[in-house]
Symmetry: C2
Subunit: 289 residues, 2 copies
């Protein structure tokens, strides 16, 4: 699993997730769209594609879910959770008091509204195409009265100096990414499985019946959501994440029962559970501020 496809440009949270997944020896390749990432693996340009699947504030990433449901046969081979932290980057020696212009992606500006209002209430805010690009622009402008807001990785790549860290309004902002590959992962004893299913229409109780096997087998659901089938309004694909590997006998039995209760089932894959608890302290200590 040497070559990892991620959504460019470099210096974004997607690259941080690809680095976290692949480790220092992985070769990272940036692509320009989500569908390009799955295609890159399908045609052999990369071994793994890293795509965001949910954010703790914004919720599900519909585009990734729809790719899994409708467009790709790739499997979920792993997951990785990345904290979303913004830093403020300026030229070396820039003082906050002298700043007249803040550049970032509109989301970066929105996520750091409190910081900007408190420290730079009179600065002009300029929306840029990406957070990483705003650091490149800062360096190009070479103006000590301008700063950019971006992940720390953008400063490592493009230069400038970090003036302030962790400046986003909400400190406990985590994004979960999935690693897609031709095959999912072997059991480790601490795994999760993702699947989707559709149900016969207009039958009261059919969703509860479909979920009953999970409850009876005491499988812990870690997520349950729905996406439109893209057909008629009100027809959904239900998506379930739960603890266990599809090769566990207990899980295999539930999958068999599920196939008799649903219209269609698609197992997206089984993979080692990411130890998200590692971010609990970071999150709670900030949540108390």
């Amino acid at each position: 699993m040497k070559t990892i496809a991620f959504l460019g440009p470099r210096g974004t949270n997607s690259e941080e997730a690809a680095l976290a997944w692949g480790g220092p020896d992985a070769e990272l390749r940036a692509f320009a769209s989500f569908p390009a990432l799955t295609s890159a693996v399908e045609i052999g340009l990369a071994d793994v594609a890293i795509l965001p699947i949910e954010n703790s504030l914004e919720g599900p990433v519909g585009q990734t879910l729809d790719l899994l449901i409708h467009e790709t046969g790739l499997k979920v081979r792993g997951e990785v959770v990345v904290p979303i932290n913004h830093v403020m980057v300026g030229l070396p020696g820039t003082e906050l008091a002298d700043v007249k212009t803040v550049i970032s992606h509109s989301q970066g500006l929105a996520q750091c509204r409190k910081f900007i209002n408190r420290f730079l209430p009179e600065a002009e805010q300029v929306a840029w195409l990406s957070t990483a690009g705003s650091v490149q622009e800062l360096v190009k402008r070479n103006d000590p009265a301008t700063v950019a807001i971006a992940p720390a990785r953008a400063q490592e790549l493009y230069g400038g100096e970090i003036i302030a860290r962790n400046i986003q309004d909400v400190k406990g902002n985590l994004t979960r990414f999935v690693a897609l590959a031709v095959e999912d992962a072997e059991p480790t004893g601490n795994d999760k499985t993702m699947l989707g299913f559709t149900l016969p229409h207009d039958v009261p109780g059919v969703l509860v019946a479909a979920m009953q096997p999970f409850a009876e087998a005491q499988l812990q659901l870690t997520k349950m959501e729905s996406r439109p089938t893209k057909g008629w309004l009100g027809e959904y694909v239900f998506l379930v994440d739960f603890e266990g590997h599809r090769k566990d006998p207990k899980v295999a039995r539930v999958l068999e029962q599920l196939s008799t209760l649903t219209d269609q089932v698609k197992v997206f894959g089984s993979f080692p559970r990411f130890p998200v608890e590692q971010f609990r302290d970071l999150f709670q200590s900030h949540a108390l501020l």
Copy 2:
């Protein structure tokens, strides 16, 4: 219910939904953001706010769901479904063969990609701030080689002439809007109820247990989805739509049972079910093309 708040500018699908909900005598007032719409009702600037809640292709509108969950005590008083249709507008007498420039919101351009590729493969595509605004721009430019893509309502308001109708790639594209007001609606015998609940964490089977009362009462679920609590990643608010009014004795019993099985329940309101079947023919006849 005379004054209806909707997301401006005029000439968009949100205005079509407000017109469909309010009828010809309603007074419509445009506001600039979703939170402004709920605030407008809360402070008495409008009687009803119309917000999109789901689209048959794109799925849920997270911002509206999060307003209902976290920010407003307004109730859902009704729903209205609007088909998303784009038209191509030009100056009177414009021929497709002479068109050199297409203006629209980036979503309008994306949703009509096939039409543009087939009829205007060499035209320059210009992204505009809104679909409605692209028609205003067309009229201002007064250039017979320029066209705009927008809902038909924008042509009614801002002028030009419709060159082609129904030009979006996917014909069966419906958006459901909710009407929010200080109070929800009285029972009509054909109603729906929307609610949200949170569950104790890490208890296998707790979601199935919470949904069991719906199944036992034979209440038809019309939607089930989840939103992040905006706290820790992996904690969700579950959102359920089902047939029946909260004042029906059968529904009232289910709500009572639900309150003992969940951490928190918030009933967003009961309201007459919109007869979405009226769009079934339109959708199917186009789906066969």
